[in-house]
Subunit: 199 residues, 2 copies
DNA sequence: ACATAACCGGAACGGCGTTCCGCTTCGGCT
DNA sequence: AGCCGAAGCGGAACGCCGTTCCGGTTATGT
């Protein structure tokens, strides 16, 4: 009779080789999603062979293709999330809401710029509302409430986030050639118009 | 030796049965795209059998699945396009640009409401920049230039259009329960904030 | 060293978009 | 009315891809 310690809600830890494979798969997926314009072109067999494992391993660790992409992006977005929740002002708490909005939008532009392909993959595979987008929308919603009470906070949060949708962002950056600074400036101007329009 | 009149750029007209089949396919596609939340669940065989034709016919007339969806949506959007180009003010020409912006955004909300599933299908299959979206962006761009010269007109046009992205619109309407009037009001308020913010 | 459970690879499955080709139908001409 | 070439047609077949499954393998605690 094996001695078990079934601590409620504590899953048994991964075996070491399993953890190593999970990391290999995550790296391979990140690499391949970045290399392709369209995440549909990245197939699971290619990720598996890049990682040096079988396809079964991908599914055992990540469930499905969408979750894999979300998981990879989550890793890259964690830094930003922590900065927002507990980092130095104005991105973190402590600054006036107006300044936090602008700092957050700028940080989001930088993040989108760096991780464009991954963000694109996640949005194309699973739509909005997935991965870090949910947290960002919530954050903006709270700030919007303070900064523009004459708007529906939820709607406004989405409206301010929408220009960062990867397909729009891509179009502005690549086809139209706007710089990240120009995009930041447009976003700031839009935000200021909003909270300068109390009626 | 057959007598030919090769008028440059004039394709020979469709045979009558071909035209009838094209209409059947378009109707069947419209019906099935409307019934499903996810256009990926509508497969070409189902459209063909609903239309009473073989799959080959779908491809001969429409090229591929994305083009089929675009073609169907284009038909429904033509009315709006004509109203904008040559209908009565303020939607059509003749009214001050500010009024035209608001009339256009309201009309677009109504259109999105009516054709949500088709719009969703087109965007999911082919992204932005397809079908009527291109025309709408151009129209808004021209108006934005006049109404808010302190913004990048192209960027602003996309930013104002973005909240009508079907996945955002859906979320606001279905999950959050906003009415179309409330959405129109938010959009109007955003537009007014923009052109009330000349600096 | 052994027992057991977790883990692994990759063949197999099912579904989908798309292509292909032998047959059918249309429609202008005599 | 009958003929004939071209346009059109249906649906089997193809290739790709996400996902599942299972017989063999490896790590880990005793």
């Amino acid at each position: 009779m094996p001695l078990e310690l079934p601590i409620a809600g504590t899953a048994p830890p991964e075996r070491h080789d399993a953890a190593r494979n999970r990391a290999r798969v995550a790296d391979a997926a990140a690499k391949l999603f970045r290399e392709c314009d369209d995440p549909a072109e990245v197939d699971m067999r290619a990720i598996a062979s890049e990682a040096g494992v079988g396809v079964g391993t991908l599914y055992r660790r990540f469930g499905d293709k969408t979750s894999l992409a979300v998981s990879v992006l989550d890793t890259r977005a964690r830094e930003l999330q922590e900065a927002v929740l507990s980092g130095p002002a104005p991105l973190g708490p402590g600054a006036p809401a107006e300044e936090r909005v602008e700092a957050f939008l700028h940080a989001l532009v930088d993040h989108t710029e760096e991780e464009l392909e991954l963000v694109y993959a996640v949005v194309l595979l699973g739509g909005f509302g997935l991965g870090p987008y949910a947290a960002w929308r919530l954050h903006l919603r709270v700030l919007a409430e303070q900064v523009a009470p004459h708007f529906d906070a939820d709607w406004l949060a989405e409206a301010l986030l929408a220009p960062l949708h990867p397909s729009l962002y891509r179009h502005q950056r690549r086809e139209r050639g706007l710089t990240t600074d120009e995009i930041k400036q447009q976003l700031t101007q839009l935000a200021r118009a909003v909270y300068g329009s109390r009626r």
